[in-house]
């Protein structure tokens, strides 16, 4: 989902930067507040950031014959709500833009908007809905992680279609083309990311129960109910 450096016209680059900036500033304040009020959250916050860091470093093959990155932004969005991921996701993107020539500074705003804003919020919303509908934490985690990943790539496709509409079919034609590149490739990766999220939350529900109860992810339970 990294739009390459210089590959958005200046007006789009500036527009997306302005759109993403308030979310990132708000996210930075959310992280500072969380760490200050609940210092015991720092460990899990680090885990959420680290999860995104690992997953977005790995390009994985897909059925379309292309490879692509997972995003890993769902974990932090589910644990700490989406604003913290606006900061953590942007830090990851900045690291890749500066050191790896992956993405870029001019496209940082657009990339942050897709990966650090839309992905976490769409994933969190899906998690809440799926969890309520199923009554099961892990079903919610799976759906939320998957949609956080997929919606990021759908956003990138639409951003590119907006900047480079097709000569004949316009925005819609370009959107279909870019969705064909990004979103279709991403489907198996998003499913895999859902499974990885379930694996991680199975570990957390056993080992980080006090934190999850305080964050409202698990209801306080004195008895050790089986968490499959």
């Amino acid at each position: 989902m990294h739009i390459a450096e210089g590959f958005l016209p200046p007006a789009h680059a500036i527009g997306w930067t302005i759109a993403a900036a308030p979310f990132v500033v708000h996210g930075a304040r959310a992280v500072v507040k969380e760490v200050r009020e609940n210092p015991e959250s720092t460990l899990l916050l680090g885990a959420a950031g680290a999860f995104t860091f690992v997953l977005s470093a790995i390009k994985l093959p897909s059925v379309t014959g292309s490879s692509s990155h997972p995003t890993g932004t769902g974990v932090g969005a589910i644990l700490f709500r989406p604003p913290v991921m606006a900061l953590l996701g942007t830090v990851v993107l900045l690291f890749q833009a500066l050191l790896l020539a992956h993405g870029g500074l001019t496209t940082l705003g657009a990339n942050a908007f897709s990966m650090a804003v839309v992905g976490p919020w769409a994933g969190y919303g899906t998690y809440r809905l799926a969890r309520r509908a199923s009554g099961n934490l892990l079903v919610g985690v799976f759906a939320g992680m998957m949609i956080a990943d997929l919606s990021t790539y759908v956003t990138t496709s639409l951003q590119l279609a907006l900047a480079f509409p097709d000569a004949e079919s316009g925005f819609l034609g370009a959107a279909v083309k870019f969705l064909g590149v990004f979103a279709v490739t991403q489907v198996p990766l998003a499913v895999a990311e859902g499974f990885l999220g379930v694996l991680l939350f199975r570990v957390l529900t056993v080992n980080a129960r006090p934190e999850l109860e305080r964050l409202g992810v698990l209801r306080p339970q004195p008895t050790d109910e089986a968490t499959r």
Binding site: P61, Q96, L160, D166
Partner: protein
């Protein structure tokens, strides 16, 4: 093995299968990154478009680049492993102390 272990193994196997199957069954492909595929699409449909800004730093060789990606993964994996290890250690300490000292004291 407990049911929990089986579920874990099934989840890990599913993740591996999702990436192994395209490689094994799919048509031969060089698995180009979608980011560069999109860039190529833009250049094909908008031949006049010139990127107006260059990366401040490019790793230069693909060897160095993959090393930096590995570094990123290692940093993330290291921190994640550290946190999960600490949480697990805290819990096993708590369960070990629980029978004698009543409610588990989680402070080290």
């Amino acid at each position: 093995m407990t049911r929990r272990t089986w579920v874990t193994l099934a989840l890990v196997a599913s993740v591996v299968a999702l990436f192994a199957l395209p490689l094994v069954l799919g048509a031969p492909s060089d698995y180009a990154g979608t980011d560069s595929v999109a860039t190529a699409e833009i250049q094909a449909s908008n031949p006049g478009y010139e990127p107006w800004f260059d990366s401040v730093f490019s790793p230069g060789s693909s060897e160095v680049e993959s090393g930096l990606f590995a570094l990123q993964a290692a940093l993330g994996g290291g921190v994640l492993g550290y946190v999960l290890g600490r949480l697990r250690g805290r819990r096993s300490r708590a369960t070990a102390e629980a029978p004698t000292s009543g409610p588990a004291d989680t402070t080290p």
